[in-house]
């Protein structure tokens, strides 16, 4: 039997992806589940359903609620939280660098640091200098990484990630895939880990 594993699909601009990224390490370690970090872009997925920005901007009541809900969730978890300005931020550069980092072994740390810069420190991750600062803080030399992130291979890899997300039926972030089951939202992380551990057939009866 394969070791239990879970794909963690996230978007750097997404508030609830921040919360999930800060939680997933400890929970997955405790559950003995290996996590694949899968950055992708929500923009093309939103565009395909006719949205040109975050639904939290398009639907003001939903947006007002989300900001308060994330604030409460972070307070309960003891996580710092600051509302990013602008929102959503441009996550393209950070997502490409994350793919380089996941290939080179410093990816998860980079992802958490980007989320912290954006949602705890109020920095603009769309600014290449901020991404460079995050790399420096991790003792990764920025220049070669930023150059590789601009290369055709990484650009194509991020497009493939986003296309795979769409193919898997993802419509928001964070999402988790375990044992062929899709789970959406930070709230589903625990259930997704149970599914990764035990398999969907053991945890979830299917109807008829």
């Amino acid at each position: 039997m394969a070791a239990p594993s879970l794909a963690f699909w996230f978007e750097f601009a997404s508030t609830y992806s921040y919360v999930a990224a800060m939680r997933i390490g400890a929970l997955a370690a405790k559950a003995n589940v290996a996590v694949q970090w899968r950055p992708f872009l929500l923009g093309p997925i939103f565009k395909a359903q006719g949205w040109d920005t975050s639904p939290f901007n398009l639907y003001p009541a939903k947006g007002r609620y989300m900001w308060r809900d994330v604030e409460r969730q972070c307070a309960e978890l003891g996580l710092a939280f600051r509302r990013p300005d602008p929102f959503p931020q441009s996550s393209l550069a950070a997502a490409r660098v994350a793919l380089v980092g996941l290939d080179e072994g410093w990816g998860e740390e980079f992802c958490r640091a980007v989320f912290r810069a954006e949602f705890a420190d109020g920095r603009n991750i769309g600014d290449a200098a901020v991404v460079a600062d995050v790399l420096c803080a991790l003792d990764v030399a920025p220049e070669p990484v930023l150059a590789r992130a601009q290369g055709d291979d990484i650009k194509a890899e991020l497009r493939r990630q986003t296309e795979e997300a769409q193919r898997l039926g993802l419509f928001g972030a964070p999402s988790f895939v375990a044992d062929g089951e899709l789970f959406w939202g930070n709230d589903r992380l625990e259930q997704a880990l149970r599914c990764a551990q035990l398999g969907s057939s053991m945890t979830i009866r299917t109807s008829s």
Copy 2:
């Protein structure tokens, strides 16, 4: 200090309102929180943001996910679940009768029975005969109730409920209001109960 209380806003056509309605009684009793059951209609709220049906119908990927997610949630909770046809069902008649019942003392039982008829037994709650059957099973004579439910007082009361929901910033169901805080979704029931017990100031630090 006032006894802890929570307003439970629900829509009979809503899948996650079904799950919350089946869970809230035992959890609120354990937490010693009084629950006000507040039926309302999502239709006018969706219409105000340009939707003429459920977002689960408008956005197919979200819809496909929701059906599987509700099925999994119900399986984990040991709740029967059957996908209603049509979806969403017309909930107007049931919501009006629920207001009569909440005034006459059999409202909560009626609400749970309507949800079960729709989501466990696969009956169409838009059919007046189904609502009458539910009343009969509760030993409530249907005729006077259905007559009162068609009266101007109850019609106006349901409109007022829906307007109040909109004023409170509700944009989906189920929602909970405790200590001035809005919580959206079955997943937030436990947090809403904690807020009702302790007050938002004790559970939730606010930023700056």
